[in-house]
Amino acid sequence: DQQVKQNSPSLSVQEGRISILNCDYTNSMFDYFLWYKKYPAEGPTFLISISSIKDKNEDGRFTVFLNKSAKHLSLHIVPSQPGDSAVYFCAAFSGSARQLTFGSGTQLTVLP
């Protein structure tokens, strides 16, 4: 029973265009959501997060949107750059459980 799902295993985008990565969750007890970026042979790197009481958080080229009623969040990267090519993981945090639950990741490729 996957509580956090990333249904697109891969995404290709042209440099300069917008990348949109999606994530769905089932557990309404999650109160914090995070996006991590992972390069091969490295650990996940924290990118951006959002509290469940908000619907948008922006940091430079990265914006995360949360739709609680749909149990859906998305990460927008604009403009996309070739260095953004990596696997992106969506993760959800429950304050009561104090653990991150991860999706299976989306491989983003930004084409020059």
């Binding site: 650990g43 997060s49 653990q99």
Partner: protein, 114 residues
């Protein structure tokens, strides 16, 4: 160093061998987490420490897995009598606060059991 470090980075073990994986968290971080990541999957929670106290070990797959953090900083994940299904990347993460919502990960230890 500024980030979470783990050693060894790679470990090859024969089935039945015991292994010990080390994690050095970011200095001053109270919370420490271990995750297991299988190929093509996201990391899965194993266990959590707040300082030296192991508050949650519900993700440990069997009693062959044991973790400790005796002085509230460095942590060791030990796997006894390794099996082939233990082959995975083992990730350590630390968080500044007890709430633990923003976790910073180390590079991982890739374990291969033959």
């Amino acid at each position: 160093g500024a980030g979470v470090s783990q050693s060894p980075r790679y470990k090859v073990a024969k089935r039945g061998q015991d292994v010990a994986l080390r994690c050095d968290p970011i200095s001053g971080h109270v919370s420490l987490f271990w995750y297991q990541q299988a190929l093509g999957q996201g990391p899965e929670f194993l266990t959590y420490f707040q300082n030296e106290a192991q508050l949650d070990k519900s993700g440990l797959p069997s009693d062959r897995f044991f973790a400790e953090r005796p002085e509230g900083s460095v942590s060791t994940l030990k796997i006894q009598r390794t099996q082939q299904e233990d082959s995975a990347v083992y990730l350590c993460a630390s968080s500044l606060r007890t709430s633990g919502e923003t976790q910073y990960f180390g590079p991982g230890t890739r374990l291969l059991v033959l």
